[in-house]
């Protein structure tokens, strides 16, 4: 990172000055751009490429109070072999679970290359002390999580206390050690596109490896314009610092069409460099079976019924 951006966080005043000095986002224009890109016609070979790419980018997620070891193990099996009848289907990028489930997921996925991501920091609201958030993170990391999905303190952000948000991200990043840090902005609660852009930069300056739209617990979650603005942010951040940051839209991406639209956004906004699971993820659960169904339709010419796709 360049020294200029380290200096940005040296005081409340400089941090605020920097974030508010970013170019504004015109809501109407951003919505139109996202809508225009959504009309791209992705067919035949392009669709086949997009489906496999999307499968390999899925963070297969279960974040329920009712999660059990059995449920997590079953989801891990699905992550390794999304379609047991077709070995040419790529495995997904990661599974995403609560911290207490990390150890079970790590055991189930050992040696498969599928990563284990854990939400942390008093997910989903983030309403707790920094000590609790750090402990939450440490617990997941010690259990073997490769990736930590933290939430920012939206209350602090909306009240203008950017330093508090920054300091928390820095502290969690330190607690992550070698684990990758995804910072969830919960854009549905930030409400404005200007806020989305500022929060993106704030997270990146603080050391985020990924910026993620949503917890999936708040609507609206990952809308196309919000993902567009975050992709612009990582693109501009690399121009400024040379460092690449990944993007993960999560929540509300249910169909192959949704996934393909996201990939079009990546391709035409951040560029081809981001078109890999290393730099772009799709946080989802039901999306995977739709991708598998469309994939089978492309290869066989027929749709199979939902019972031909596993429900783990």
């Amino acid at each position: 990172m360049t020294t200029s951006l380290v200096d940005v966080a040296s005081s409340d005043v400089t941090l605020r000055g920097f974030l508010h000095g970013l170019p504004g986002v015109d809501r109407v224009g951003a919505d139109q751009r996202a809508a225009a890109l959504a009309t791209r016609s992705i067919k035949t070979t392009a669709k086949a490429q997009a489906i496999d790419l999307a499968i390999s980018m899925v963070d297969l997620t279960t974040l329920e109070g009712s999660d059990t070891v059995g449920k997590v193990r079953a989801m891990c099996a699905k992550a390794i072999h999304p379609d047991p009848t077709d070995t040419s289907v790529p495995r997904v990028a990661a599974v995403c679970v609560y911290p207490d489930m990390v150890a079970h997921a790590v055991r189930a996925l050992a040696g498969t290359g599928v990563k284990v991501a854990s939400v942390a920091t008093a997910f989903p609201s983030g309403r707790s002390s920094l000590a609790v958030k750090v402990a939450d993170t440490t617990m997941a990391v010690e259990a073997g999580a490769d990736e930590i999905d933290m939430v920012i303190d939206r209350g602090a952000f909306l009240s203008g206390d950017y330093t508090k948000v920054y300091d928390e991200i820095v502290a969690i990043k330190a607690a992550c050690a070698t684990a990758h840090l995804k910072v969830i902005l919960e854009t549905g609660e930030l409400a404005t596109y200007d806020n989305v852009r500022r929060a993106s930069w704030l997270a990146m300056i603080a050391g985020a490896d990924f910026i993620k739209t949503s917890t999936g617990k708040v609507a609206p979650a990952a809308t196309l314009p919000v993902t567009l603005i975050m992709l612009e942010a990582v693109r501009d951040f690399r121009l400024r610092t040379g460092r690449m940051v990944g993007v993960k839209p999560a929540g509300g991406i249910r169909t192959t069409k949704d996934a393909v639209k996201n990939l079009v956004l990546v391709k035409e906004t951040a560029g081809d460099d981001w078109l890999s699971p290393e730099w772009f993820r799709l946080g989802a659960s039901s999306l995977l079976n739709d991708l598998l169904m469309q994939r089978q339709k492309l290869t066989t010419g027929r749709y199979a019924g939902p019972d031909y796709f596993t429900l783990d």
């Binding site: 170019p23 504004g24 015109d26 109407v28 951003a30 016609s41 067919k43 392009a46 669709k47 078109l275």
Partner: protein
Amino acid sequence: MFEYAPAPESRDVVDIPSAYNLFVNGEWVESLGDDRIKTVNPASEEVLSEVALATEADVDRAVQAARKAYDEVWSTLPGRERAKYLFRIARIIQERARELAVLETLDNGKPIRESRDVDLPLVAAHFFYYAGWADKLRYAGYGESPRALGVAAQVIPWNFPLLMLAWKIAPALACGNTVVLKPAETTPLTALAFAEICRQADLPPGVVNIVTGAGETGAALVRHPDVNKVAFTGSTEVGRLIARQVAGTGKRLTLELGGKAANIVFEDAAIDQAVEGIVNGIFFNQGHVCCAGSRLLVQESVADEVLTALKRRLTTLRLGDPLDKNTDIGAINSAAQLAKIRELSDIGEQEGAQRWSPPCTLPDRGFWFPPTLFTGVAQSHRIAREEIFGPVLSVLTFRTPAEAVEKANNSPYGLSAGVWTEKGSRILWMADRLRAGVVWANTFNKFDPASPFGGYKESGYGREGGVHGLEAYLNV
């Protein structure tokens, strides 16, 4: 890897006869002359069809049909009856939108994405809008029962063939006039398809007449003594000729001519959206837009940032087969227009401006020009003053709002302007001072039938669209 595969829209929805006649008095009639002109697909140079080159006698026949229809039918119908026909036409256009979009793209060269998502929806919207006015003219502010003018002679350009037809015919018919329309020489096909739609809608014979041809046909139409109103959209050069011809005849005249619009980007603009607006301003429809934002005025303090972003964005534009649903930039409409764009671009280089285009492969056949921008342009360069009517952007800089206004207004044209700033008070300050018929704030090339459109100075006079657009077709 993720590369877009070809996604061509099917041509099967259109059926183009090998030759067309003239549409006069509700019938297809053979021209009284022998000459015909070929219309080609500019993306491939394939001949699509042949149309008649209407002679003075053909024009006379069409005007007579329009006069008869005006006297005997159209002027006697109450507004609500005229409205029924216009609503019917609007609905048929919507029903046949896909076919018309493909036909427009084939004949004009514009991307199907634009003909499908911009041209056709606006065409239908125009007919719906003016259908609504037909029985409410007394509320338009022109008196208790404003009267129609009579027969309108309408000459339209090739850049938005069907949309310009809609801008002309919809208000004319709503106000109670009858029409003889001449489409452009290179893009007659959608106007001829519209003639079929008039029949499908049972429009009384003679209310709409379509005569195809070149410049001489248009001239014959404009000078016909039994015409009450002339409406022209096209070049300033031809507009001047028409104004001279019409002067002293008592014919009413509206002209919508060229432009060299300034698209003004302030340092506090939403840069990403401004870049989209710049692209949409000059590369929409290959820059074949009279109100195109062909002069980018960018504040010096953000000029580098904006240009970097703009160049990066231009590298993502997809140029090629206009029927491909992912194409952003289609073909130049004709060899003649391509020659003109090349000539002015070469002059730009000779004058010392720096030329830049993204890497892009042009198809072997057809008429093509890459998206191009010139930096280091000064007001005294010809590419900053003359209308290129192609995908060529001249970039100039300014330091203060006053300088931006001065440079924007320092043009013989005054059709449109764009202002990009997040500061509301500055938008109003600029709009008060810009001498342009349309000022867009944080957007560009947005059209709506309820919004008037027209120029200052050499960009013409009269307004089309909205309640203002009625005035051009009423005896007020």
